[in-house]
Amino acid sequence: MARDSQAALVALNRFGFGARGGASGDLINAASDPRGFVKAELARPHGVLLEAPGLQSTPQLGQAVFAYQDQVKQAREAAKAAAEAPSTQAPADQKPALRRNLSLNAAAAEVAGQMADARPADHAAKPEAMQPNAAAPPAAKPAPQPLNVIQKTFRAEALARLQRATLADCGFTERLVVFWSNHFCISASKGELARIWAGAFEREAIRPHVLGCFADMLRAAEQHPAMLFFLDNQQSLGPDSRAGQNRKRGLNENLAREIMELHTLGVGGGYTQDDVTSLARIITGWTFAGRQGQLGVPGSFVFNVNAHQPGSQILLGKTYAQAGLAQGEAALADIARHASTANFIATKLVRHFVADDPPPTLVARLRDIFVKTDGDLKALAMALVDSDEAWKAPLTKMRSPYDFLVASGRLLARVPEDPGTYLNNLNLLGQPLWSPAGPNGFPDTSAAWAAPEGMKLRLDIAAQMGARLGNNIDPLDLLEFAAADAASIETRRTIERAESRQQALALLLMSPEMQRR
């Protein structure tokens, strides 16, 4: 069978996470049957699920946060009491000063033996066993703080995701996971619950439906505690609900607006402010059980009838008269099948995989399939791979930082054992894991990822990888794994002429063949 290395690059880089190095044979396999190589993963829908030892469910994780918060609170109170109590033990001039320097976290650590991290990211790389002592030239290192349960969970979830992406054959389904996870994004920076739930949200609400039905993913995402917390729906009360009448608080439209604007219909998708308000009322009561467990298992999705706006609502011209939870589920099911949703999703998918300026014929084809199949996401993915447009379009899309780092790890055949370096580098490159700046997720155009500062930092990171890992590699072998004869002569020469293996690796990782997809 004829081998087509250029088509292999499309298969591996446009659809997947890039060729693995070592003895994977990825490039040769992809070149022999490019479309088959990509589609192979679509035949294994259960392969999208991610279960790893130690990864817990959303309610379990919610309970862990509640317990941790209780510990911190107790520690704070204990510290406060100790500070107020007349001291007979310590010298008077020392103790108050010491107490003033005691942060909440340090106080918590005293009692709970744990250390909270108020910084925006819990991404410290795992400290090595050996450390320079004070006699060594570098400044003596502060003792590493033990990670709290939230940080540990975030890192474990990140590691599981990174390992899966690194080990996947082509990585198409993992790319789809990243796409949908970013489409229905939550942000870990919202708070402790969001941070501990970020990975579970993806595993529970996104992965089971990546090759399933859009309406199911929509419902799973909007009913997930992480989403309800991220977009404040747990605070939203129907004005005429029992709780709404008892309190000063009322409707919060945040989730309802983002459902229509970002998750389904899209801006200009034919909804009005009245529709936003209606949907907000319809989904009042969608929340999760708190630490007391009055509504259900703490940390699980519950429908709180006391917060729900009673009565029927008109949404997008249709009347929803159902009672309780069914009202919102019916509304979501209809929005999921709306023509604007079909168009919005088709456009976004094609833009993500094919080109910033998506070919209209392909968008139209995917839109029709979405409508015809009632949002069958596997059929959509299949149509994308079957389209000639996706194979003909030049590889002009810029790899996102996440794509770039994963692709580099795959090429170097290094399975991550610690997520620290990845998380640090994602922070540096402006794509902190599961932590986009807003509910619209990370950008999906080349311009966003090919900015001057980003490129400079990418080069620094590539040089770092070169310095650390270039020692044991043959850069020309790696180029063979990555692109074979689809590599440009200029790229090949640049790598051949590098002054060291380390430099050659940095240049390979930064080459257009590795940066574009």
């Binding site: 320079p132 060594a136 570098p138 020692n471 043959d474 640049t494 257009p512």
Partner: protein, 407 residues
């Protein structure tokens, strides 16, 4: 921005976030019980590998050779002018960016060996570095390095205990069965200028959008147009000093490593190499500073120390069309340290007449670099001819250890 502060802070506490720029350091994990402990010497050896192929004719210039000035053209060193080279004897002159080495030379603690090369005769950096560091006669042997195999031949003493952390990488020269440790200074990760320039050049041919973005990101617009080649990124010279300072401090400790290897990158001067001033001068200044850091940092231990500076091969005798030099063969090795019998340029000078050049283009090597290194290993640690010829540099009987390098 707090995120960056946070990341920097992480770098301080994380070995994995470290980048050494163009330098790395690794050392042996044991205090050797030297055969020469009887006479009170406590020898130390530092091997500095310059990656990229150092232009020996620009570093120690054969000013007395009638063909030198013509071949090296616009970048040739001269004994006069605004930046005169430093005459080491009546024939060879040292680059003016190396005053510290010049002083050591005058104090008889530095020596130059000229027209040296490993047995490698092709022009690939990767293979050339493999040969230089592995100690084998040909490329493709990358399991262990000669320095590690020399260590294996030494009696093993106490384990080094000065709290070393594993560095980013161990150079091949020190890889192998003998256990090593490493240390890397905390440095903000920055790619060096040379790597950045090469990438911009690749992008200019293949990806103009990325070329523009990266150039702007690097603020290399002026440098990329070729009218200002001053290095601006991760200051390589400062990094060399920093790494040497740290390594020296570690090695000065009573329970610190006695043997170490460092690598400095950036010597592949294909274009705009510069003469007495310019990019090469800048790097040589860094190397000179690093040698001074070893002298200062080792303190009283400098007396028993030898620093060997070597590179994979030399560069063309004649400059190319872009005021640089291409891959060549013969070059220099430098020795510095209190234990060096210095004040000499050791060379069986082949001359620079066309007929005398290797393949009509390169300085012809007349000394096997392995002889130089063997001489140092023998002088410092008393390794036998046989161990050196069989274990350390396999199949190298013909390259006899050079005598009298070490006091």
């Amino acid at each position: 921005m707090t995120m960056i502060d946070c990341v920097e802070n992480r770098l301080l506490t994380s070995r994995r976030g470290l980048l050494l720029g163009g330098a790395s350091f690794a050392a042996w994990a044991y205090l050797p019980k030297f055969a020469r402990a009887a006479d009170g010497r406590d020898p130390r050896l530092v091997v500095v590998i310059l990656r990229g192929a150092l232009d020996g004719l620009s570093t120690v210039a054969p000013i007395g050779d009638p063909d030198y000035a013509g071949l090296h053209g616009s970048i040739a060193l001269t004994a006069d002018g605004t930046h005169p080279a430093i005459m080491l004897d009546s024939f060879f002159a040292l680059h003016p960016a190396m005053p510290e080495f010049s002083r050591m030379y005058r104090e008889m603690h530095a020596a130059v060996i000229h027209a040296v090369a490993t047995p490698y005769r092709d022009r690939s950096h990767f293979d050339g570095q493999d040969v230089l560091e592995s100690g084998y006669a040909g490329p493709g042997r990358v399991q262990s390095g000669w320095l590690n195999r020399a260590l294996e031949a030494l009696p093993r003493g106490e384990r080094v205990s000065s709290g070393l952390a594993v560095g980013p990488t161990t150079p091949l020269v020190l890889r192998g069965n003998a256990p090593t440790v490493g240390w890397a200074p905390v440095a903000l990760p920055q790619a060096d200028d040379d790597t950045a320039m090469r990438l911009v050049e690749l992008y200019r041919h293949r990806d103009p959008v990325l070329a523009t973005a990266l150039s702007q990101g690097l603020q290399l617009d002026k440098a990329a147009s070729g009218d200002d080649m001053k290095p601006k990124r991760g200051n390589a010279a400062a990094q060399m000093r920093q790494v040497a300072r740290g390594a020296a401090k570690l090695m000065a400790a009573d329970d610190g490593p006695r043997i170490a290897a460092l690598t400095f990158d950036g010597w592949d001067t294909h274009a705009n190499e510069g003469g007495p001033v310019g990019p090469l001068a800048f790097l040589l200044g860094g190397l000179d500073g690093a040698l001074a850091e070893f002298e200062n940092g080792l303190g009283a231990r400098w007396r028993d120390a030898v620093v060997v500076v070597a590179t994979e091969f030399g560069r063309t005798a004649r400059i190319n069309g872009t005021d640089g030099t291409d891959h060549g063969t013969g070059t220099i090795a430098l020795l510095a340290g209190g234990a060096v019998k210095g004040g000499r340029v050791i060379s069986d000078w082949p001359g620079l007449k066309l007929a005398n050049l290797h393949e009509g283009r390169d300085l012809k090597p007349t000394t096997d670099l392995r002889s130089v290194i063997k001489g140092v290993l023998q002088g410092q640690f008393g390794l036998s001819d046989r161990v050196l010829a069989e274990a350390v540099f396999p199949d190298s009987v013909a390259a006899r250890p050079m005598k009298g390098l070490v006091a």
